[in-house]
Symmetry: C2
Subunit: 202 residues, 2 copies
DNA sequence: ACTGAGGGTGAAAGGAATTTCACCCTTTTT
DNA sequence: AAAAAGGGTGAAATTCCTTTCACCCTCAGT
């Protein structure tokens, strides 16, 4: 992404701050004032530049029509939380979505699709992943060996580490009490765990 | 908080959805359309009710001046991330604030003050708290025995479990390789760890 | 010496968005 | 039976926001 000048960065930070604190972006007049400028056109020019460089989406002819892009930092995105997985349906089918949770975009990777999954069981204990943790998953059909992935086996979603033996992939738990999983039938990788949110620390 | 009727709930959900997806709240005209109403005054009346019941903050005479309150669900709050702790200064002093991170408000407890701290070291490994994790801390000067707390010892902030021996409190690591800490001089509890965010899962 | 890009001012015009008014209906509470 | 509260329509008035135009300066690159 194209770099920003000092003043442009300041303008972006101001927009992000207002959006965060107030719940909605500033108007041109408000931005002009916060920039310390005298003309609204100054703010317009900054928005034009930030929009061209991809830091914001600017909808013209709309009051406060400034949207921070995910890459703008300090942004946030609503991600679907996958609840009970309905047999047969794809993981991201609407029927599987329990609710939306707002997540800081700094946890995500670029603009790839992500979702959330609640961890069941203690199989990833040694990796610091506890039951009921929310894992942030980047949706992708492949992953590298050694990465923590979400796999769909017999219609059930599970979080494990991807491993390899001789010629085939298998799934490894991070807990000596759990055996490795060498899937027999159909299975698939749904994504890669990129972050984690724990709602209740005890 | 006062209950909402079915239609009021629907209106609130629409506002929350637009705010999440678009980054800013709807205008009266937009809300009117999404409600399926014909008159903008219908939307005005809903906003009046939602505002009175405390689900939104409505700034009059402002375009899109609708702010979801934290209790409205799906909300998010910008919390200060404490960086290097300057000796002597209180933990939440401005000089210690590295940046602000947006956190879903469902992680927080009511409207108490919270902050974020980056975990250093492996001393809480067995509790599923890894180095570089961000812990969400509810600022409070006391905590119950057995809770995970942030303590300030000799000007350094540390995350440990609060324990008690005979008559005095001490701090316990969740890792057999780390010894318990029986603080000698001045020390204080800065808050209680209520949630956790891991930015990079390896 | 010229050009382009960043940064800036000021004001007028047109479109967007908010308010307020009067009036309607139904359901629940007093 | 009357009052209060939720839900609703339509339109005018007013304020708020955005856009655009003309013109200014400085600095880096050609």
């Amino acid at each position: 992404m194209e770099k920003l000048s000092r003043k442009q960065e300041k303008a972006l930070a101001l927009i992000a701050k207002r959006t965060r604190e107030q719940g909605y972006p500033p108007t041109l007049a408000e931005l002009t004032e916060e920039l310390g400028a005298a003309s609204k056109n100054t703010a317009v020019k900054y928005l034009r530049i930030l929009s061209r460089k991809g830091y914001i989406v600017w909808e013209r002819n709309k009051a406060r029509g400034i949207q921070l892009t995910a890459d703008a930092g300090g942004g946030e995105v609503g991600l679907p939380l996958i609840g009970a997985v309905a047999a047969g349906a794809p993981l991201l089918a609407e029927q599987n979505i329990e609710r939306y949770v707002t997540v800081p975009s700094c946890l995500l990777q670029a603009s790839a699709p992500h979702f959330l999954l609640r961890v069941a069981g203690q199989s990833m204990l040694q990796a610091g992943i506890l039951p009921d943790d929310l894992v942030v998953v980047r949706a992708q059909p492949h992953a590298a060996v050694g990465e923590v992935v979400v796999a769909l086996i017999d219609g059930e979603a599970t979080v494990k580490r991807l491993a390899q033996s001789a010629d085939r992939l298998f799934l490894k738990a991070e807990n000596p009490e759990f055996a490795d999983i060498h899937p027999q039938g159909e299975w698939s990788i749904q994504g890669k765990v990129v972050a984690l949110i724990r709602e209740a620390v005890v």
